[in-house]
């Protein structure tokens, strides 16, 4: 009996082991209940947090160098005219349901994404001027574009253009999003909308990209839960309900950072900074002196420290500092200088003639309409800005509106100022905001030269040439005083110290769960 007991103890010790081995279960807190989670259909960033590990993409982007590295495609060629991309696929890759991955699967996926019936909200548009996909042979596939589109590889490296099992897609139809099947390091086990999503380790995984550190996943299971109320995120982490939690509010992050059991992993997100767009088509903001005065009169440092507790970098220009093509020169524009701001307003003819504290001109008050959305700390930022400008003699009428309302207001040009922020690793994102025909042209800019730079940069494949063009765009945006940049977006992830090896992809949002381990 005693011998048996000793044997059992030894066996147990061996089984648990001292060296880390695959196993364990963590709970990962998401911050939105995703609005549908089919990456080909839906657009939320939240869906990519779990699904990046369910799927593989043709290429991957190394977040350190920005270079593209092989994924499901071992290598690729781009034709001279930039319109044909040929991908040589990896052999021996199988979807979780046993379906083999091949050129036909790539064609199936891209046709699904571009089919009007699918009504894709994001993936379709990431393919730009896509024309068709050709199967050359079982492991060679060609993507043909109508015109050159430089961001294509960046798009193909994201989960929205990930490769799904054709068998599963056909089997489940519109319910596919509850039964997703990829080739990735984790298998999609179940999704109960609004409650949880469960992933389990794929032990057959052997085709990871070079950016992954392990061959197979180190955790047995990852469970995702949805914490939509920001105030409850830190308590859930501290009570052990979650091991990782995204978007911790800045004031809670400061407290967690001081604890011995938790840490904050702050990830800078590439894309367009949080900035106030100034409507250059609506007086008095059609006068560049007034716009420049607002830039000089905004104490951004004070906003960063009051609203973001210094957890976010101050934004200098339209791109966040970690985005490819970012031009650091923009930081020299418009340092906080209320005297210069007041001087510019005087020059533009705005003086406080009746001594009521608000400047006026020809009987008109210097009053600006600021529309804010309820998320991303916009109301807090708006309040501080209004307060700072009131000292300049500028009155701000601010109002919180919903996103659809904001879009409508912007389209009709009823705003003076409206903030926005958007993530994305390719600087082509600037085209969505500063091209005269752009949907988000909230500054109402119409600069043919800038349109030309943006269009050309989207076609060129040479990285240096692109960076140069985007540099010019950023300088022009600041010279023309189109926006007031506030903060670079940072995702504050609260992490239980037992969780190790958490790294994020080039988008900054999507964790590479394959390398996550549990400390013993």
């Amino acid at each position: 009996m005693r011998r048996l007991l000793i044997f059992l103890m030894v066996a147990a010790a061996l089984a648990t082991g001292c060296t880390p081995r695959p196993g364990g279960h963590i709970v990962y807190g998401l911050t939105l209940a995703p609005s549908g989670i089919d990456p080909h259909i839906n657009a939320s960033s939240e869906l990519g947090i779990p699904l990046t590990s369910v799927y593989d993409t043709l290429v991957y982007q190394d977040p350190k160098t920005g270079e593209f590295v092989p994924g499901l495609a071992q290598k690729w060629e781009v034709s001279e005219d930039g319109k044909v991309y040929t991908f040589y696929l990896r052999r021996g890759v199988k979807f979780h349901d046993g379906t083999p991955f091949n050129a036909e699967a790539v064609r199936f996926n891209l046709e699904r994404i571009t089919s009007p019936d699918l009504a894709s909200q994001k993936a379709r548009f990431m393919l730009g001027p896509y024309e068709r996909t050709e199967v050359v042979d079982e492991y060679t596939v060609r993507i043909v574009l109508k015109e050159p589109f430089a961001p294509l590889l960046d798009s193909l490296s994201q989960v929205y253009l990930a490769m799904a099992s054709p068998t599963a897609v056909q089997k489940w139809g519109s319910e596919y999003q509850l039964h997703q099947v990829g080739t990735g390091p984790f298998i999609f086990v179940e999704y109960v909308p609004g409650d949880h999503l469960l992933l389990r380790r794929n032990s057959d995984y052997a085709w990871g990209p070079p950016v992954y550190q392990h061959k197979t996943a180190q955790l047995e299971e990852v469970e995702f839960r949805f914490f939509t109320d920001p105030a409850t995120r830190s308590p859930a982490l501290e009570s052990g309900e979650a091991d990782v939690m995204g978007e911790i509010p800045p004031q809670d992050a400061a407290r967690l950072q001081g604890s011995k059991d938790f840490r904050i992993e702050s990830v800078a997100i590439p894309g367009v900074s949080l900035m106030l767009f100034m409507n250059t088509a609506r007086p008095p903001l059609d006068d560049i002196r007034v716009r420049q005065a607002l830039l000089f009169g905004t104490d951004r440092k004070a906003i960063i420290s009051a609203v973001f507790r210094d957890t976010s970098p101050l934004a200098c220009g339209p791109l966040t500092a970690v985005t490819f093509g970012y031009n650091p020169m923009v930081c020299e524009f418009y340092p906080y200088n209320p005297d210069q701001a007041a001087g510019l307003l005087e020059q533009a003819g705005w003086k406080d003639t009746d001594g009521d504290g608000v400047r006026d001109k020809d009987g008109q008050l210097l009053a600006l309409d600021l529309y804010l959305m309820g998320w991303g700390y916009m109301p807090e930022v708006g309040q501080l800005v209004a307060d700072q400008w009131s000292r300049l003699g500028v009155r701000v009428n601010s109002q919180v509106v919903s996103y659809p309302e904001a879009l409508k207001i912007a389209q009709e040009g009823r705003h003076h100022l409206m903030p926005f922020t958007l993530s994305g690793s390719d600087p082509d994102i600037l085209r969505k905001f500063f091209h005269s025909q752009a949907g988000f042209n909230w500054a109402k800019v119409n600069d043919p030269e800038m349109d030309g730079w943006l269009e050309e940069a989207a076609r060129l494949s040479d990285r240096d040439q692109r960076a140069d063009l985007y540099s010019r765009v950023q300088t022009r945006v600041m010279e023309s005083a189109l926006v007031i940049p506030i903060r670079d977006y940072v995702n504050l992830n609260g992490v239980n110290n037992r969780v190790q090896g958490l790294r994020f992809d080039a988008q900054g949002w999507f964790p590479w769960l394959i390398d996550v381990t549990l400390a013993r």
Partner: protein, 305 residues
């Protein structure tokens, strides 16, 4: 009796039609273009947005859209969510059990607590017990759920570790959200029960029962509480709207599944099929509860039969 049932059924159909029409009209008045809302962040061109608008049927004249919507409804088809790309009926069925569970548990807890507080306050009228019970009732009525919920999480999950702070599933997950929502509900019940009990206690039949030497507990349970609780049942049934709106916040605070969060998201994204579906389910719930309340009240107070 048959005529009553028929009238009631006709009334129900009318209410459902009104709710459906109201949901249709209200979303027409809400500013914002659904196609633009869905596609703006993708950088879709104006033509692509226009194409999607046509695809969603939003270019058709309003009467055509309305007729198509009613025809679909008559077939029991709630349509496909514009945002999720899934069947609205399925999405609602997924979320309904969690919301029903929370609403029932909160109603049960809130009614019990409210009756107990109201009874205590009435029996010990104008003593410190009355003050305390009435005070609790007012606190329940006036504390917003997002705040009391957070306090409950900090105390019972983080400090004491008694209950999980998040998720749905087993009973342990239900305790805190049901208690918080129920507490908010108990206020109005308590105030009503207190007033009713005080009124009934003044009635001659109570005096007569006491004079006959019946024990006080028996009088309270059999003769006072039953008629006093009757009106409270109607109040509880009328609180369904409050319960559903409270559930939205409770679901968010306790990271639970539920219709509330689905509805809020749908409204924010102008996902009309989902909004309409949830409104209809809400109307249906109202009809069922008011029917149930009528039956229950008739059982509790024989004078109404």
């Amino acid at each position: 009796m048959l005529g009553y049932g028929l009238r009631r059924l006709l009334g129900a159909v009318l209410v459902l039609w009104l709710a459906a029409t109201l949901a249709f009209g209200a979303m027409q008045l809400t500013p914002g273009d659904p196609a633009q809302t869905l596609l703006a962040a993708s950088g879709a061109s104006a033509e692509e947005v226009a194409r999607r608008r046509a695809q969603l049927g939003l270019d058709d004249p309003l009467p055509v859209q309305y007729a198509r919507y009613l025809a679909d409804l008559a077939r029991g088809d709630l349509g496909v969510s514009w945002l999720h790309g899934r069947s609205v009926g399925r999405m609602i069925l997924e979320q309904l059990p969690a919301t029903a569970e929370l609403a029932l548990a909160a109603t049960a807890f809130g009614t019990l607590l409210g009756v107990a507080l109201g009874l205590l306050a009435a029996l010990y009228r104008e003593t410190w017990i009355d003050t305390l019970a009435t005070g609790l009732a007012v606190l329940g009525l006036s504390t917003p759920v997002f705040w009391s919920g957070l306090l409950a999480i900090l105390l019972f999950s983080l400090r004491l570790g008694w209950f999980p702070s998040a998720g749905s599933g087993d009973l342990r997950h239900l305790v805190l959200p049901a208690a918080i929502l129920g507490f908010a509900l108990s206020g109005s019940v308590a105030r009503l029960v207190r007033a009713q009990v005080i009124e009934v206690l003044r009635m001659p039949f109570v005096m007569a029962a006491l004079a006959r030497g019946l024990p006080l507990r028996r009088i309270l349970l059999l003769h006072v509480l039953r008629p006093a609780v009757g009106p409270a049942v109607t109040v509880v049934a009328l609180q369904l709207g409050f319960l559903l709106s409270g559930a939205v916040v409770t679901e968010s605070v306790f990271a639970r599944q539920g219709l509330g969060r689905l509805a809020v998201q749908a409204i924010l994204w102008r996902d009309l099929p989902v909004v309409r579906g949830v409104v209809l389910v809400g109307a249906l719930a109202y009809l069922l509860t008011s029917l149930l309340a009528d039956l229950l009240q008739a059982w509790l107070d024989p004078r109404l039969r």
